[in-house]
């Protein structure tokens, strides 16, 4: 009897990120209005929308870099930012939940005083408490994966934008997060460097990483996504699989957006 009960509750959590009734304003402007979104484990969700639609804010709420006023976010079943008693999390507890997410920023944000290898090992060593040896071995694997192992000893200021972003991806992966968050990862890149970064992200999706991506690259979004979400003035106005979204969007607004961004 107790065994069956246990098995029943042991149902695997298939949801990597669950966002419920999320609202957020800056001053008096509502940037997110009652947003609901579920990201299944292994899925790639891209968030599209024109600038100012709230898509970056939504992404930054997921790891609590922005604090929403209402609603809840769960990462792999654990609520971020707010304790069970409804109070704000301590900085330590927050950092622990945050570590379940990895983020890649538009402007790379590598740490310039550390070389490439140490940018990747810094958090595993000082947050997860891994040994330097173990962290470096894992970092070298990841740098290999993003094609940057030959630059392990280089400092960020000697790298191109595309190279910096690939290192930033390795840095985020090093924490073995439940979900990877990409905030316009190619927007700050020269056009000829966009491809190398998108190729890396695509290879991650093939490996089954769970990802939420804010992007302006339409063909990339179409080919990589399991789900496309369109934000307009803080509201999700369209949510569909990529085929439906790009060929048969239900709202006029999305059809216009796609027309302009061809």
């Amino acid at each position: 009897m107790p065994e069956t009960g246990l098995e029943f509750s042991k149902e695997p959590t298939e949801v990597a990120v669950s966002i419920r009734n999320l609202s957020k304003s800056f001053n008096d402007v509502e940037v997110l209005r009652d947003v609901n979104l579920e990201v299944k484990k292994g899925d790639v969700v891209t968030i599209l929308g024109s600038s100012g639609s709230g898509k970056s804010t939504l992404l930054r709420c997921i790891n609590w870099l922005e604090q929403p006023e209402r609603g809840s976010i769960h990462i792999a079943g654990e609520r971020i930012g707010v304790t069970d008693e409804g109070r704000a999390m301590s900085v330590k507890a927050l950092a622990r939940v945050r570590a379940k997410t990895g983020m890649v920023f538009q402007s790379f944000n590598l740490w310039p005083h550390l070389n490439v290898l140490h940018n990747v090992t810094e958090a595993p060593i000082h947050v997860l408490g891994k040994s330097r040896h173990e962290a470096e071995a894992h970092a070298r694997e990841l740098l290999d994966k993003v094609g940057m192992s030959h630059k392990a000893d280089a400092y960020p200021n000697t790298l191109s934008g595309g190279q910096k972003q690939r290192v930033a991806i390795a840095r985020a992966l090093a924490m073995q997060p439940e979900v990877m968050l990409f905030d316009e990862p190619t927007s700050a890149l020269d056009p000829e460097l966009v491809g190398e970064v998108l190729a890396v992200i695509k290879s991650l999706s093939a490996e089954g990483y769970t990802m939420v991506i804010v992007t302006h690259e339409m063909s990339f979004a179409r080919s990589v996504s399991d789900q496309v979400v369109f934000l307009e003035k803080g509201l999700i106005i369209e949510q569909a699989d990529p085929e439906t979204f790009f060929t048969n969007a239900s709202t006029e607004r999305v059809r216009k957006f796609l027309e302009r961004n061809k």
């Binding site: 983020m103 402007s107 944000n109």
Partner: protein
């Protein structure tokens, strides 16, 4: 100048060096701590620190040394001369250093901090591993500048009878009636000390180019 004059000069230089050195070591660390307390914006304490910093920055060093040395007995404190000298220099330099550290903290890239927090670093780890190493590099030109100001201002402690490098030249010429040689040597010694600092500054500037992204 005879051997004993040279000896006196070197002793004076040593006095200048160790009193300045101790004041610099305490002043740089205390300045960082004060800067962090100010950034935390704790009411009352913040206002007290602002008051201290403006007072310390506005008071001439000689006046501060005299004040500390002469007022200590009033508060029932027995202060040795060298302690009074160190205290005055430290109070002075800490105020300037606090401002240098504070501006380094305030100007630190928000993006880099966010990247650190996004990997799960607590504010404490972020400060120690990401911010402080870079703040040291960016603050060093200002800090070293302040160190050389302190060393050049250190003859102020002679006013309470500490025989440091400048004061000792007086003593020597009082016997030899030749003021020029000892003061010349003192100048060279000051230049050597400051020269070491400037050299250290150059090395750190080379490392700082990495931070320019």
């Amino acid at each position: 100048m005879n051997a004993s004059a040279w000896n006196m000069l070197l002793e004076g230089a040593w006095t200048t060096l160790w009193i300045s050195g101790v004041s610099i070591a305490i002043g740089v660390t205390a300045g960082l701590i004060l800067a962090l307390i100010r950034i935390a914006r704790i009411p009352v304490i913040d206002q007290l620190l602002v008051l201290y910093i403006s007072l310390a920055r506005a008071t001439p060093l000689v006046t501060l040394v005299l004040f500390i040395f002469l007022s200590a007995p009033t508060f029932g404190i027995q202060l040795e001369r060298s302690m009074a000298g160190i205290l005055a220099l430290t109070l002075n330099t800490t105020a300037f250093n606090a401002e240098i550290w504070r501006s380094a903290f305030r100007n630190f890239s928000r993006e880099q901090r966010e990247a650190a927090m996004a990997t799960g670093m607590t504010p404490g780890i972020t400060f120690r591993r990401i911010m402080l190493p870079q703040m040291i590099i960016t603050s060093l030109p200002g800090l070293i500048n302040e160190m050389s100001f302190l060393i050049k201002g250190s003859p102020a402690i002679a006013v309470i009878g500490i025989v440091e490098l400048t004061r000792v030249t007086n003593r020597i010429s009082a016997v030899t009636y030749e003021p020029l040689p000892p003061i010349l040597v003192a100048c060279v010694l000051y230049m050597a000390i400051i020269g070491c600092l400037v050299w250290a500054q150059r090395i750190t500037e080379r490392r700082a180019t990495r931070l320019a992204m």
